[in-house]
Symmetry: D2
Subunit: 134 residues, 4 copies
């Protein structure tokens, strides 16, 4: 299992008239956790994409438990609990500074070769890096 944490400060523009972080913005917070967890593994999502493999999202699920508010310093905990093949699953938990669980979610993504536009195996260097955690 590979797990990493990322901090995000809530921006004013991310709140809505309810005073909460708008429910649609957590997908971007999950993306930040996802990319950052790869970076901390020594792997650049951007370089992979520049080299012809992209990773579009197949599904997203979020269960909202408590709201986040403007200026909250959130922690996104990102977990990969299965070794990826052509697909990869990430799960997420977001906590506030009081360590309250705000929401949980998960996404499934697929490695796509941008030349063929077809699914492909996760890149070797990424597999090698993440296998150390399993």
């Amino acid at each position: 299992m590979y797990r990493e944490s990322t901090q995000i400060r809530v921006r004013y523009g991310e709140t809505d008239r309810m005073g909460y972080v708008y429910y649609g913005n957590y997908a971007e917070f999950y993306e930040v956790g996802r990319i950052d967890s790869l970076r901390k593994l020594g792997f650049s999502y951007k370089t992979m994409e520049d080299n012809g493999i992209m990773l579009p999202v197949l599904s997203l699920q979020i269960k909202y438990i408590r709201p986040a508010f403007f200026d909250d310093l959130l922690t996104v905990v990102t977990t990969v609990s299965q070794l990826p093949k052509t697909r990869i699953q990430f799960s997420y938990e977001i906590f506030n500074e009081k360590n309250e669980l705000l929401n949980i979610g998960n996404t499934e993504l697929v490695f796509i070769n941008t030349n063929t536009n077809k699914p492909c195996m996760a890149p070797d260097d990424f597999l090698k890096a993440i296998e150390a955690y399993f």
Copy 2:
């Protein structure tokens, strides 16, 4: 069952470097479908909220099938298939102009009395309006 359709033109700012609509933006498209379907029922979400009942989202699920692109004219089909009580479920299908299904999703929301901050029954006028479809 209550069902309504809403059109959305994809904005440039809603695309990402993949050239697709960013996966996180569909939650807002679903919101547009949701609010518009209520409006077409003769019910103003805004007035309800101004009168002390808000409707935060408890869960969101999206299954992405095909991407949407800049300038696409999308149709969001919003469906309420069960009579709401303190909670309401909406399901969504988004189609492009070729009538291809791009994604399906659903959300569960809860009616909250903003004075007590506790769940409450859906407002009477809303229930009366939607009951005609069941």
Copy 3:
């Protein structure tokens, strides 16, 4: 002078905790007015970009007069008051349903040939279409 109007319904996710449309979202509303005014001229911004000319923004100015609120039906009035060469200027006024002026703004954009990455003249078909208004 070429002038067109476009309607935009304010989304919940576009408001902030002040209850106003977040100040940063008007740039996207201006984009919607810009693209729509070109479409009404018979010109597709998307096709132009697919054909190798893009139009990045060089400058943006906004003067905020009154706020917009959730569910407001806004009118963006987009104006081109000078014939474009390698650059084009758009100005914008946004009104609410009471016909109150909410903000005024303008943007300057430059036509860029995506092969050379250098400025180029506005496309002939676009110039022909817009010249009729001058």
Copy 4:
């Protein structure tokens, strides 16, 4: 003069199909710089707003020089060069990791008493904190 720096990592969802950060997103980056520069002065924008003074934006100007890209680590330099009264001006410069200047901008904001909905002087504790820099 008061000046502070804030780092922002560009998110995937902030890019557009041109591969650049969407021009409308810089307003939010400026907001992040603004709020963070106040925090580093020992002043919480959130607490001020909770205490009945809000700070809506009156004007925004941006001059775009170079684009930012996905995953870039940006530095927002925020400057207050005049002592605020009922209004405050912030100017911004955004740099990438190569220390290239990407854009410059400024905003004017007004202190509003949320009870009276009228302009008011900047709060005393804020003035005291910032006067040390002038």
